[in-house]
Symmetry: C2
Subunit: 656 residues, 2 copies
């Protein structure tokens, strides 16, 4: 990378990053202000919960909740806007998650799994928070393996009621948001039994508290107590002791029970029905990926503004210049901590925008495109996993990069870390999600209905020919043009050649997925049992999922830069994109060496290029984080807002 | 690795791990019990501070504080015991750190930098906590770069007093433990000015509060407020406004001022004097490495006991066996998260024991061996860095491995994470420490006095010949025998051959350090300035430090196993050692490929070997963590103590 100066048009960058739902972001910037929404720390659990509910009710008076709901009940039916609105609530992640529980999970389940009568009866009160509610899916014994939930809902035709029951401790509902304090109603996921037959997991509306806050008859509620973070959200446990609810409480879009006890469903296969129902709930997972991105952006904004000013150790003056203390961001080690993370945060931002757009479009299309739906689910699983792991790692790095200042609650990073820490395992455990993605790749989204180790996979293993199809996901003509123009595999290609980079990541994905397919089938033929075969390849499975996401995220970054209206800014973003892709390659360069995709000399050159890019991008770091447009009052960290500058007598930091 | 059953003698293992200071560990197990010392969560900052002080005072009545102090004041002068005692306080890391502040830093500085009169006057009250005190070194503007502290202590010969003063905001003392609430006296590090000449940083005893808790005249105190963790420790800020203390307040072992204002010191060079003074404080850094180890052990004990019982997803029965849910530790992905971390925790345990032994021996040797002292400082810097990074990463992984349960405060992992998070940057920022280690390697500990970019380094760069000398550090004859018996570089060596493994890590260290030396000297000859040359190689510098520590830690592990009295147990530990070294190699296999130390086939075989070792060690995981001997009441996490077992109707977990 040449060291010539690059320019950055801040308005252009902001517009590009704000993207299609810029108006929602602006609205959040206007709304989430002042004392009511200011970040806080050190509150007691009770005070934090009360504050969060107050904030939620204040948001209920804005346009925000309407986005997620249909026009029939007064919503504005803009799913993309609902996801983007969620991710902007970074001033307090407790509020972010509380809105997610109330409007996304609770309201979203009623919307997706219920029918008009449920919409009309409940959704207006869900939006207004007149009816706070829970999404009671996870049980103590079953989190990832939802299909094995043990709560039962048995139909009693005589009374035309369902009897909801917790048969044992494994079946208690656990970690349920809104359960410990505020929720009055819960969408309860249970094994539906009709006339002695189990129809699989279905959801029902079950009252859990009256207006005075007393538990409903037959419902036992326990507080999960303090957590690492998100203490503004009241997570709790629920037990049901033969709780009776009317027949109409069943959210009956995908399965209904007539008064006489006849079960019917538009989807015959129980397995397919189950995964179809789960698939409608994909928005929560996508929202978490966005929320994780916001947390990472906030931490990076704080750490980079601080690093740009903080000084330590003296650099001897050259040619008679006086000695001076070095800004910590001028150290290569510090750049390496923060700048590749910044590049990846940008890349993930564009990937998230693309995923939200797909979700949004699919929600508007008249009738389901099964292939597109399954691809969306796979992508959501993969992006949620990589985005939340990235956030956890990045915020950790930011903490360390800020030293003791990063450990003080006043500087916000501790809260960002603690709050977002659960993101890697809630709304789907990341390791499970990456495997789900890889299974989708193996089956090319043709038949990814099936649980982790059976059915689909066994069927796949029995097959013969396998060839990965790289499905390009963004700006397809552009990507194809770039790849076509790439020089062939070999030494001569410039490391900064985008086509070569794209081809390199595509090639790795294809090789890893095909290698996995071959390995699974070969082992299977040895007569080993399917579980053991798959388990022994589990590291390979996870590698495949990561390789796929690295490629998809790169394509989204390339497509995003292509939308940039200012050439100079695009040029700068292209350097940032180089840093993203080359740090991805560097991280996994052992693979590229093992598979002779990089020579040893070229592999070393990648490391050097990452160093060069860090040095070249360092002067733009603060403006690049400011581009995210997080309000200073959401950051609230003195070290990011001028305290260090003031101490040193420097001008205040450039702001977003 | 063969899958034949291995045996483990639990008493033998405990004895081996408890090591030389087993009696101190046993004493801690007997002492730290009951309501008074039980882990707590969710306390307010005020309540937590009060509780921690109460605990500290209770410990003051035991033998624990005496270890760190000389017999002349009633101590038992057993430095090794003092470090081991510290690391056992894992029931609440606030207590661990509070004892470190009071006895290690405050008392330790008086012991190391003061002379008999200070010892007699202060140390008895330090031990009894009659005099709670602070180690006031770090300032807001200077943490890592202690030599640039700005607090001044100017000698006034007329009054025979020092005037201690905070000239500006950069110079306020920051993050000082015991300052916000309890401390009455502080060891204040300040630039000593005598007769207009700056003699460099020295330490003085300065009263900061009276017995009623009122700030001393001229002293301003501010609370740092809530932190991510360690809220039982009262960190604060201190400002001094022309505070006068008697001449005898100077801790005068390395520099004294006569009544008439004559400065004298046994060490002429200011730079050497400074680093000698800092060197005497090395115990704090070594203690932190040990404390980090304990936190990692606690988290692993919780996560592995849980993973051994927790089940998710069903494995179809083979040959007519019923289906069964799989214990999560039976998944390769879960093994890969936790078992290499367990292996490294063992390795670091033995490295810590060895380092503590060296510190202890050196503290007993009549007069200073400069080379040994500098090597100790380098080793302490390196081990502190790798042990604390390991703890942070491991506890994070344990959190994720426990899913939602790992996010609940009742299961202890959140507190372990939050409390230990600062370990990577306090008592020396890890990045700075690793560089310090590498500088020591470059100069072969001959002349590592000097700050980060000047003097020693510039001198080094001007040199010519350089050859790394691998100084073996533990069980030297054994290691030499193993290395000598290793097959030559190449394909034929067994991956499990210990000699080959040792030689591989030695070779990498030598190559990285020599390559760095050559690079620095070549660039320097180009006429680039020293700062720039060093900065551009900073990633290389850090790699060198890590490579060194990987080798040293392996040697300690090998030496530790050699002390094991039971053959079967030793065999199991040898498998664990294989997992340690092969996961180190796997992590950095890109380097071994780039430098043609591993062929591509062999590199892939390393990954397979790590998988095999994980599978083979899985049945022993719980007994291996139990070997650490952390009391159940220190862990206190229901998921580690039978709640999950009870729910599933399993027998309770094996205990340590």
């Amino acid at each position: 990378m040449t060291e010539q100066a690059l320019r950055l048009d801040e308005a252009e960058l902001r517009g590009l990053l704000d993207g299609r739902w810029a108006h929602v972001r602006e609205q959040a910037r206007d709304t989430v202000r002042g004392e009511l929404f200011a970040p806080v720390h050190g509150l007691s659990v009770d005070d934090h919960r009360a504050r969060t509910l107050t904030q939620l009710k204040a948001l209920a008076k804005t346009d925000l909740p309407a986005y997620g709901f249909p026009a029939t009940v007064g919503g504005s039916d803009d799913i993309g806007a609902s996801v983007v609105g969620f991710e902007m609530l970074v001033a307090d992640l407790s509020l972010m998650v509380k809105t997610g529980v109330q409007w996304g999970l609770f309201g979203g389940a009623i919307r997706a799994l219920g029918t008009d009568r449920h919409h009309a009866e409940y959704l207006p009160d869900v939006m207004s928070v007149e009816l706070p509610g829970c999404f009671a899916m996870t049980e103590t014994g079953h989190g990832s393996d939802v299909q094995q939930l043990r709560t039962r809902a048995v139909y009693d035709p005589a009374a035309e009621e369902f009897v909801v029951h917790t048969p044992d401790e494994s079946a208690r509902k656990d970690y349920i948001g809104n359960a410990a304090r505020d929720g009055r109603m819960a969408v309860v996921f249970a094994q539906l039994e009709v006339d002695g037959e189990n129809q699989g997991v279905h959801a029902l509306m079950v009252p859990i508290r009256d207006r005075e806050g007393r538990p409903a008859p037959g419902v036992r509620i326990e507080d999960c107590g303090p957590k690492a973070g998100l203490n503004g959200v009241d997570n709790g446990r629920l037990w049901f002791d033969q709780v009776r609810v009317p027949r109409t409480s069943l959210l009956n879009r995908y399965g209904d029970v007539a008064a006489d006890g006849t079960y019917s469903s538009p989807i015959e296969s129980k397995n397919r029905r189950f995964f179809t129902m789960l698939g409608t709930l994909i928005r929560g997972r996508i929202s978490v990926a966005g929320g994780a991105g916001s947390a990472a952006k906030a931490a990076l904004t704080i750490a980079l503004r601080y690093a740009d000013t903080r000084r330590q150790f003296t650099r001897p003056g050259v040619d008679g210049e006086p000695d001076q203390e070095v800004r910590v961001l001028d150290y290569l080690a510090h750049q390496r901590k923060l700048l590749p993370a910044l590049a990846r945060t940008y890349a993930l931002h564009f990937a998230q925008e693309e995923l939200v757009t797909r979700l949004h479009e699919l929600s508007r299309s008249a009738e389901g495109d099964d292939h597109a739906q399954r691809e969306l689910e796979s992508r959501a699983a993969g992006l949620k996993a990589v985005a939340t792991w990235h956030a956890t790692a990045t915020i950790q790095t930011c903490r360390e990069a800020c030293g003791g200042a990063g450990y003080l609650s006043e500087n916000r990073i501790p809260q960002l870390k603690a709050d977002s820490d659960i993101f890697t395992t809630f709304e789907g455990d990341n390791t499970v999600l990456l495997q789900q993605l890889t299974k989708g790749l193996l089956t090319n989204f043709q038949d990814s209905f099936g649980d982790l180790d059976q059915l689909g996979l066994a069927r796949f293993m029995a097959g013969k020919v396998f060839e990965t199809v790289i499905e390009r996901t963004a700006a397809i003509p552009l990507i194809e043009r770039l790849v076509a123009a790439a020089p062939g595999r070999g030494e001569e290609a410039d490391l900064y050649n985008r086509g070569w980079q794209l081809e390199l990541l595509e090639d790795r994905e294809k090789h890893v997925v095909e290698g996995l397919a071959g390995r699974l089938r070969r082992s299977r033929k040895d007569g080993s049992d399917a579980f053991e075969v798959f388990n022994r390849a589990q590291d390979h499975v996870l590698t495949a999922g990561r390789a796929h996401m690295d490629r998809v995220v790169l394509e989204a970054f390339v497509a995003g830069i292509d939308r940039c209206g200012d050439q100079a800014t695009a040029k700068l973003l292209n350097r940032l994109c180089d840093l993203y892709v080359l740090s991805v390659v560097e991280e996994d360069r052992a693979w590229f060496l093992e598979h002779e995709r990089l020579s040893t000399a070229r592999s070393k050159a990648v490391t050097q290029a990452v160093n060069d890019l860090c040095r070249g991008l360092r002067p733009y770091a603060v403006r690049l984080v400011n581009g995210f447009g997080l309000r200073d009052e959401w950051l609230a960290a003195p070290i990011a807002l001028g305290s260090e500058h003031a101490r040193q007598g420097d001008p205040p930091p450039a702001r977003g």
